[in-house]
Amino acid sequence: MSKRHVSATVNGDPAEFLCDPGVTLLDALRDELGLTGSKEGCGSGDCGACSVIVDGRLVCSCLMLAAEAQGRRIETIEGLAQGGALHPLQQKFLEHAALQCGFCTPGLLVAAKALLDVNPDPSESETRYWLAGNLCRCTGYDKVIRAVMDAAADLRQERRA
């Protein structure tokens, strides 16, 4: 079977790659574009380690075919920091020690970004349910939830200023 040619916008920049029709977006990001920040923890959409934002919507990139990315706008963990400055979510994850092994962290950060994009003032409960698709086996989520809510507060402050 011949490869598909896919053009998409990845982290704001035009990107092109060739892929077999059966290849997932996750594999294309990792193997074709060298964006290995998105992780494969399960390959079945259960762990969220491969979370990316496609046209503003949070998706598991292991559940989307790479060919479906044609013409889409994709945001990955590699695009979260702007020009060398960490995103407030990234900074708060560091300050709160919200990561231990760090493997689920890219997915959690992308999912949290998607949350704050639609809900700048989430309650603890809303944050927990939004992030329920992102498994973390190390932290017990306590510091993750605190970091996300603290970052949300900072971002609200920034917007007001």
């Binding site: 992780k39 762990c47 306590d142």
Partner: protein, 760 residues
């Protein structure tokens, strides 16, 4: 003269230890740059995959690889025939002993497959799709045998035998026939019969726990390159690069010097990455193909063929006086080992009564092979299972006596000077302090609503020391590099940097910690047993102290004085001679800049075998609410107090406690291996094997108690493991309080709770 030169502080105040700096590997981990096992690639790399047994127990009659070999793009195929048939040899990796023959046979089955998912062949091909096609073309002829998975069924005299050459060790008289029971161990003290005869109150119960997986989110992954000159390189995610080197050398019959293992970042382990599964196969495939080979497990493979920890059956009988003194205990533990001997029943036995001062007891442990994946270490291996049963029984005892569960535990608590049930005499333990902390915590006083209950449980873990190496190098600008051989599984780099910074008198940001490959640093046992901050931290501290001694010597040389006149403080050498008050101190940067004139580079390496890891104790309170309609249990509030000796980085200590509680909560409520009638795992994925998610849990209040460990330079004890010990019983005891029924079989899934409510 008011100069501080005259009055060096008597006891050094800690500037770095106990603070919460940002971890030095943090930026890479929040930006996606950190390279984990599957993130490494080499030019010309092949894809390696494993053919696995579909049977729980079968004889391998034949393996025909001809069709697969003929497929274009297939570059190598290996089976057990490509590995030496090893003799039995014990290997001490750092947490628990394993047998290298068993590790080899677990990596690749020879003659027999012992569980669904057992590897029988591996292929390397130019693409993932071709490798999959090749696996399908490998023809394996099996003679299917009866299988046994449940532990008591495997112990029965007529059970299907996994290994006809296995005779039970540790019995009073040598067994006449082979058995699935690999070993019996016993601990005893006093006169058990007399103890129970004197007891006024007796509680008794049978408890079971299901096999559960460590559940690290990163599947096992490695890249291996076997050079034409026999020099091998391995990049892999594991808890110990030296462990990987030893296992690969033994399993492939190579020299350790010919294998260099570079540790990738590790995406969780919890004990499950203290052994090898892929690396020897990848090296064998690379040797045959002449190209580097990458192997990455799927989640299904992780569940079917790695970990888990034992499912178990535990019998507990406790006898007490009416005033609440426990005077007799009989505990019998039967643990699944999986396909090869080596369940954590030994540690389960040793920890079972470690929190209690009991005059008469007997603990019997059975290590039983079963047709399920060979168990691997899982956080405080064996202890949570034993604690589930014992702590449930103590809760029953408290109910029967009408006693407060914390007061009952305080009354029977081990203290300094008492001999532990497992042998040694306790020194500098902080157990009673953890009980007092939860007793006095506001959580314990709050009122509960309908369908809610509160449970208390305690836990113990030995903590481990062992062999570690660390090097400290001072840079020409006065900063430093700390080199260790222990993979950073949960923030240990920052702790290493902090201890070095404390000794050197540097801000922690000026110390760069790295985890080195096996050729760049001396031997270290793996990261496990809660040993890294204690043992490797001790090596780091001593290496930094050697640097300080060297710096003082060089300052003395510069000042032309005796080294006794030099003090190291705040990152500088101070001249103590009162006759020369005007002498300016020499900073680390100044001494580093002139190192060529004082003896060359400033560098020190320390290798040690750390002894005296202080044991860890924890006391937990859990509140739950049970939905009587669905049987669903919600954890409402959780408080965990733990003696950590000294928290080097309190935030990561809290993180260990919170993570252990979450895992224990999953073990209590959701997680279990489910096998079908043919012995195949039915729930080998995160959808059906449900680990706790963010919406399942409340905030977890971690209460740090610090009873210093005098054997560690800053007082640290291991912290990572004991937090998973109490939660199983804390949750179950809370459920008992909520529904009025003692639940004895984990997990406490909704159907079981519903049935218990209906039957009450």
């Amino acid at each position: 003269m008011s100069d501080v030169l005259d009055r060096p502080p008597a006891a050094p105040k800690l500037d770095v230890v106990g603070t919460r700096p940002i971890r030095p590997d943090g930026a890479d981990k929040v930006t996606g740059r950190a390279a984990f096992g599957a993130d490494f690639a080499m030019p010309g790399m092949l894809v390696g995959k494993i053919k696995r047994s579909p049977h729980a127990h079968a004889r391998i009659v034949a393996i025909d690889t001809r069709k697969a070999r003929a497929l274009a793009g297939v570059k190598a195929i290996v089976t057990a025939a490509d590995f030496p048939d090893l003799a039995s040899e014990e290997y001490e990796g750092g947490e628990s002993a394993s047998n290298l023959r068993d590790i080899s046979l677990n990596c690749m089955a020879r003659d027999k497959v012992l569980y669904d998912g057992h590897a029988v062949a591996a292929v390397a091909a130019t693409s993932s799709a071709i490798a999959d096609e090749a696996l399908a073309l490998i023809e394996v002829t099996y003679e299917v045998l009866p299988h046994v998975i449940e532990v008591e069924a495997a112990m029965a005299p007529d059970a299907p035998l996994l290994n006809a050459k296995q005779f039970t060790e540790g019995l009073d008289s040598p067994p006449g026939r082979p058995s699935n029971i690999a070993k019996r161990n016993q601990l005893a003290r006093g006169d058990l019969a007399a103890g129970f005869a004197a007891a006024e109150v007796i509680v008794e119960g049978r408890y079971t726990t299901a096999a559960v997986h460590q559940g690290y989110i990163e599947p096992h992954a490695c890249v291996a390159a076997f050079g034409a000159d026999g020099q091998c390189q391995v990049w892999s995610s594991s808890q110990g690069q030296f462990m990987v080197r030893t296992c690969c050398a033994k399993i492939l019959g190579l020299e350790s010097a010919d294998i260099r293992v570079t540790p990738a970042e590790i995406g969780g382990g919890f004990g499950g990455k203290t052994t090898v599964y892929l690396e020897p196969l990848a090296l064998a495939l690379s040797r045959q193909s002449g190209a580097p080979v990458k192997m990455v497990m799927t989640r299904e493979e992780v569940f079917r063929a790695t970990g888990p920890t034992s499912g178990a059956v535990i019998y507990v009988k406790l006898g007490a006086t009416r005033d609440g003194r426990i005077i007799a205990a009989d505990v019998e533990l039967k643990y699944q080992a999986g396909a090869f001997p080596g369940s954590p029943v030994g540690a389960g036995s040793m920890t079972a009564l470690a929190c209690y001062d009991i005059e008469n007891f007997r603990i019997t442990g059975w290590d039983v092979v079963t047709n399920s994946p060979k168990v691997a270490a899982y956080r405080a291996p064996g202890a949570p299972i034993a604690a589930f049963a014992v702590e449930s029984a103590v809760d029953e005892l408290a109910l029967k006596l009408g006693a407060d569960p914390i007061a009952l535990r305080e009354k029977n608590a081990v203290r300094d000077g008492l001999k532990a049930a497992y042998g040694p005499t306790y020194r500098n333990i902080g157990y009673v302090e953890t009980l007092e902390a939860i007793r006095d915590h506001p959580h314990y006083q709050t009122r509960l609503g309908p369908n809610q209950g509160r449970g208390v449980a305690v836990g113990f873990w030995f903590n481990v020391g062992g062999e570690s190496t660390a090097a400290v190098h001072v840079n020409e600008d006065g900063g430093a590099v700390v080199v260790t051989g222990n993979p950073d599984i949960g923030g240990s780099r920052v702790s290493m940097a902090m201890m070095a910074a404390e000794v050197l008198g540097l801000p922690v940001e000026k110390v760069r910690p790295i985890v080195a490959d096996t050729a760049a640093i001396g031997f270290s046992m793996l990261t496990g047993g809660s040993r890294t901050t204690f043992a490797t931290g001790m090596a780091v501290t001593q290496a930094a102290q050697k640097i300080v001694a060297d710096l003082k010597r060089r300052a003395a040389l510069t000042w032309d004085t005796a080294v006794e006149n030099v003090e190291w403080r705040g990152g500088s050498a101070w001249y103590l001679d009162p006759a020369k008050p005007e002498t300016k101190p020499l900073s680390l940067a100044e001494l580093a800049a002139q190192s060529a004139r004082t003896g060359g580079p400033l560098s020190a390496e320390v290798s040690l075998n750390a002894q005296g890891a202080g044991p860890g104790f924890a006391a937990h309170i859990c509140d739950v609410e049970v939905d009587p309609e669905t049987g669903h249990v919600t954890i409402l509030r959780y408080t965990a107090a733990q003696d950590v000796g000294r928290a080097i980085h309190p935030a990561y200590v809290e993180g260990q406690i919170q993570g252990g509680v979450a895992q224990g909560g999953g073990w209590a409520l959701n997680e279990e291996y489910v096998f079908d009638a043919e012995g195949r795992m039915e729930n080998a994925g995160f959808l059906d094997y449900r680990v706790p998610v963010a919406s399942d849990l409340p905030m977890i209040d971690a209460v740090i108690i610090e009873v210093a460990n005098p054997r560690h330079p800053f007082g640290a004890k291991g912290v990572g493991e004991v937090p998973i010990v109490p939660p199983l019983a804390a949750v179950a005891n809370a459920v008992r309080a909520a529904i009025g029924v003692r639940m004895t079989d984990l997990p406490l899934s909704p159907p079981k709770i519903r049935a218990a409510i209906d039957a009450r």
